[in-house]
């Protein structure tokens, strides 16, 4: 069936709520409004107020209560409206969600999912556009998912809801309306398995979220220039599928990492550091990073677009490797 990325996410939630009555959702405006993007639309009508709850604007209580519900037998799939606001519950996520089981012992399971909409979206400004995955990569005990297609989003979210470990699930606002044909039958996608979004032989591009689209655009441009690009979407940043990446590098010997957040200490920092550490002898050049400029994302749209990576910037980086 042809669905949008947004629908795929909504469907995954509803299917899992049908599968397991312990799955509940709560967050700001998820009930009547079906969340501000309409992703959870219909859940309230089908499952009722006991399982679909609006919360007050209180992100620390959302995460804290999700922990409490999860360890006592429910499977909360909660929402932090924009991923920028995940930072107001940063301690709860970093110290509590990530370390609870380790600090308290193996009785403690945290089957909880935190969904959050991320990324630039044309004038949303410096506090409503952030991609924050890299901040959580430094945490311990979390699973971090950042899907780029409807197919991946659905399969990974179903896995996330069934997981006994806590998952941060980042959805890109600009992808909500993108459409894809996905199987009618139920499927799940395991964590830690990257997807090769395009095969190629000259350069490996690792791209995340919306940047997968930009990388695909860049690959077309580069193809015309005679450079063949392999695009790898890790899909889950933690656990990270090193093997798929390394295999690609053994073929291409050149790597560019593309992310939407600003460059310093971003996703690309970890991936570039890790790759050159592990695959030094296979590399024909440095692992390059394409990322946003290190400024708060400007509100002015021309500046915003200048700030975040686009196909042209990826092309330039790739060409610099030759």
């Amino acid at each position: 069936m042809l669905v949008t990325y947004g629908q795929a996410i909504g469907d995954a939630i509803k299917e899992e709520m049908r599968n397991d009555e312990n799955v509940i959702i709560f967050g700001e405006d998820v009930a009547e409004m079906g969340n501000i993007f309409g992703i959870t639309k219909g859940a309230l009508e089908e499952f009722g107020h006991d399982r679909v709850k609006n919360t007050p604007i209180s992100e620390t209580a959302i995460i804290g209560s999700a922990i409490g519900a999860a360890i006592t037998g429910l499977r909360p799939c909660v929402e932090l409206m924009y991923s920028d606001f995940a930072l107001v519950a940063f301690s709860e996520l970093f110290h509590c969600v990530g370390k609870w089981r380790y600090m308290h012992g193996p009785e403690y399971k945290l089957p909880l999912v935190v969904r959050s909409a991320m990324g630039s979206s044309f004038g949303a400004g410096a506090e409503h556009s952030n991609c924050v995955e890299s901040l959580f990569m430094h945490a311990t005990g979390l699973i971090i998912v950042s899907p780029s297609t409807a197919y991946d989003a659905k399969g990974l979210l179903k896995t996330a809801i069934r997981s006994d470990d806590p998952v941060l699930f980042f959805e890109h606002k600009q992808l909500y309306q993108t459409k894809e044909n996905i199987p009618d039958d139920e499927y799940t996608i395991p964590f830690g398995v990257a997807d090769v979004k395009r095969e190629g032989k000259d350069v490996t591009i690792i791209a995340v979220g919306l940047m997968v689209k930009k990388a695909i655009e860049a690959a077309s441009i580069l193809e015309e220039k005679g450079i063949s690009i392999e695009i790898i979407d890790p899909r889950t940043l933690v656990p990270f599928d090193k093997e798929t990446v390394f295999e690609s590098i053994r073929k291409t010997h050149r790597v560019v990492v593309v992310e939407e957040s600003n460059k310093t200490a971003g996703i690309g920092a970890e991936l570039a550091a890790m790759i050159q550490e592990s695959m030094y002898d296979e590399l024909d050049g440095p692992v390059l990073r394409v990322a946003a400029l290190d400024v708060p994302l400007p509100y002015n749209i021309a500046l915003e677009l200048h700030c975040v990576p686009d196909a042209q910037k990826i092309v330039t980086a790739v060409e610099a490797l030759f």
Binding site: E28, D29, A31, E32, M33, I36, N54, T55, P56, I57, S58, E59, T60, D84, F85, L87, V88, F122, G123, A124, G125, A126, E127, H128, L293, V295, P296, P298, Y299, N300, I301, A302, L303, E304, H306, C307
Partner: protein, 321 residues
């Protein structure tokens, strides 16, 4: 209270300015001239105008995303405001911050955090500066009913109270946090006033559709604060006329109730009052509206013609040095 003619006219002018501002904001948004999302404050003007009628030079202000036009009342030039809203060079941050960050420190505006409530304590910090200087200035800290549920509000209020700082917290209770009605998100009827005792602060509830009611409540509390007695909470009851942001059809609520509240229009109420009490004639009122309308249009034109900054300027304003 007995009011002077000038006072009433000033108040009315500010109400009209704020109303027209908020209406024009929607207009320019619909014309595609605003990059970001806007949150119209139409219908809620009295809360700002009534409280700000108690202000003095040297006071500080922490406003919210709704209504942005309040910055005009506080004294930010309209050209600056609309330029920032349209993301242009002549805005206060050259369009880097945008509609939610219209601000001017020289007019006492402290700025705003789009991550709601993270800025409540910013007002408290300004109160510390005032207290150290020893003036009778105060800080006006506005926040919404929805925002009242956030932890930093609690931390900021407790700190302001233990340090006895000159801060007026103003809860704009427009009854909604996006789609969530106050009764669904808040465990008490009056998220501002009912919590004041828990900090040892006085409070007042006022009718946010009646600018003079707001003013009187604010006057009582600001007098108290200016006399050095510490912070207080004012809660104004109003209603959000439009959707949360433009595009939100507000299907989650009863349109009939909205209509009822629209009949309690604070601008009309005040107009009626000044007409009936012969403070101004219809003609004078028309002249006021026309002047404000023209000023707004001029500023919008100015902003429209203002340039974007260049990409070379993108790093400016990051650091002082």
């Amino acid at each position: 209270m007995a009011y002077s003619k000038n006072f009433l006219i000033d108040i009315y002018e500010e109400l009209v300015e704020l109303r027209l501002f908020e209406e024009k904001l929607v207009e320019i948004y619909n014309l595609g001239k605003v990059p970001g999302h806007i949150h119209s404050g139409v219908g809620e003007e009295a809360t700002y105008v009534g409280t700000l009628a108690t202000r003095k030079d040297g006071d500080y202000y922490k406003i919210t995303h709704r209504p942005v036009g309040a910055s005009a009342i506080i004294g930010v030039p309209l050209n600056t405001i609309f330029s920032e809203i349209m993301g242009k060079r002549d805005g206060n941050s050259g369009g880097r911050g945008g509609v939610n960050h219209v601000s001017l420190l020289s007019k006492g505006m402290l700025g705003f955090s789009g991550t709601l409530a993270c800025d409540i304590a910013v007002g408290v910090g300004a109160g510390l500066t005032i207290k150290k200087k020893g003036t009778d200035n105060i800080v006006y800290v506005y926040y919404g009913d929805g925002t009242s549920s956030r932890g930093p509000v609690h931390e900021a209020m407790n700190l302001a109270a233990v340090w006895q700082l000159p801060v007026l917290f103003i809860c704009e209770n427009n009854q909604f946090a996006i789609s969530t009605h106050a009764t669904e998100g808040i465990s008490v009827e009056n998220p501002g006033a009912d919590r004041a005792a828990g900090y040892g602060m006085p409070s007042k509830i006022v009718d946010g559709t009646d600018v003079l009611s707001v003013y009187e409540g604010a006057k009582e509390l600001t007098d108290y604060i200016r006399s050095g007695k510490g912070p207080a909470i004012l809660e104004a009851k109003s209603y959000r006329w439009r959707g949360h942001f433009e595009g939100d059809q507000a299907r989650y609520r009863d349109a009939g109730v909205t209509e009822e509240w629209k009949r309690k229009d604070c601008v009309e109420k005040m107009k009626k009052y000044i007409c009936e009490s012969k403070v101004a004639t219809q003609e004078e009122i028309n002249a006021i509206c026309k002047k404000i309308n023209d000023d707004l249009d001029k500023a919008i034109k100015f902003a429209d013609e203002s340039q974007s900054i260049t990409v070379e300027e993108i790093y400016e304003y990051m650091y002082v040095k």
